[in-house]
Symmetry: C2
Subunit: 190 residues, 2 copies
């Protein structure tokens, strides 16, 4: 997606060869016009997959996933990193390790919101080592729903996540695939 | 907002006289068509206020705030409840007590994303005791920005938040004002 790569180039910042800072338009300050375009791109790509739920992880996935769900006309389901005392009922959980934050957390979703056999599109802001995506895959499997696609805003293609996900044979669309980052700038795969 | 009140009546659940569960369309599973309407309602109401930033709190405020920011054509700024090791620079923080979760947390925002004198519209999913809103007010004040309006999706009018905010003289729009809840159903203010 051209506008996204342009935003990464001009408004993103490679802190080192591993960490890409996109907090001015993606995950702290959010450019809603760009996220609307991101949602359109995902919805258009997956429009013939009979998607019934868009699934994401709080909180950076919510903005792109909300526009995607709106364009597809289906509910958005947010996997929670924290539970609250009013979150009760039949819950599904799985553990995930965060690469960026250096912590572990539990992902939680109410079983009611991922009905058995429902067709689920997982959307997230980043794909790096793939831990969050594998957490989503575990929850969808536990719910006996069907993961029919994965949409990633920014993929760090030099990390292991994409390769690990490709092995599962689930259709993946990454709107920007970062090949490498360094003092000379950010290079994309295509 | 008629569709929102209808959703609260038919899809919400009063767990007791204080706690309203709206996790099937607002903060766990999200109805993106309804949130789009919510964003339109806020954008229309505040369209002449020269809003330059929409501000919200992760994570339940993000979906309604993203559609509001999109409709107003301005950036969305998300106050973070958790920081990460890549969140550095000039940060502003304030402490907030969560009524629902029974915990305290720090709200953090990068100063760059709330420029001095910028006109800020704060959007949140709930107004109860007003603690989150006062956290936002503190951060906006610390940033020397100007809070020009507050948009709330669901206000529990029987709690103290609305009264406390009204005293500040900041324009507030609550799209659903819940007067009372109980075994006989949910009553609205108007």
């Amino acid at each position: 997606m051209k506008e996204l790569k342009e935003a990464i180039r001009t408004r993103g910042k490679a802190i080192n060869k591993d960490i890409l800072l996109v907090d001015s338009f993606l995950n702290h300050q959010v450019d809603p016009m760009l996220m609307h375009g991101v949602g359109e791109a995902f919805a258009d790509h997956f429009k013939d997959m009979n998607v019934e739920r868009v699934l994401t992880i709080e909180s950076s996935g919510i903005a792109p996933a909300a526009f995607t769900a709106y364009k597809l006309g289906v509910p958005l389901v947010i996997m929670k990193k924290q539970t609250s005392k009013i979150m009760t009922g039949n819950l599904i959980q799985t553990g995930v390790r965060s690469f960026t934050k250096g912590t572990e957390y539990q992902l939680t979703v109410k079983r009611d919101f991922l009905p058995e056999n429902s067709r689920v599109l997982f959307i997230d802001d980043f794909l790096a080592s793939g831990e969050a995506a594998f957490g989503a895959i575990n929850l969808v499997r536990e719910a006996k729903a069907e993961l029919c696609g994965i949409g990633i805003v920014v993929e760090k293609s030099f990390q292991s996540g994409r390769g690990r996900l490709d092995e599962l044979g689930i259709p993946i669309l990454s709107l920007a695939r970062v090949k490498s980052m360094g003092p000379d700038g950010i290079e994309f795969m295509e």
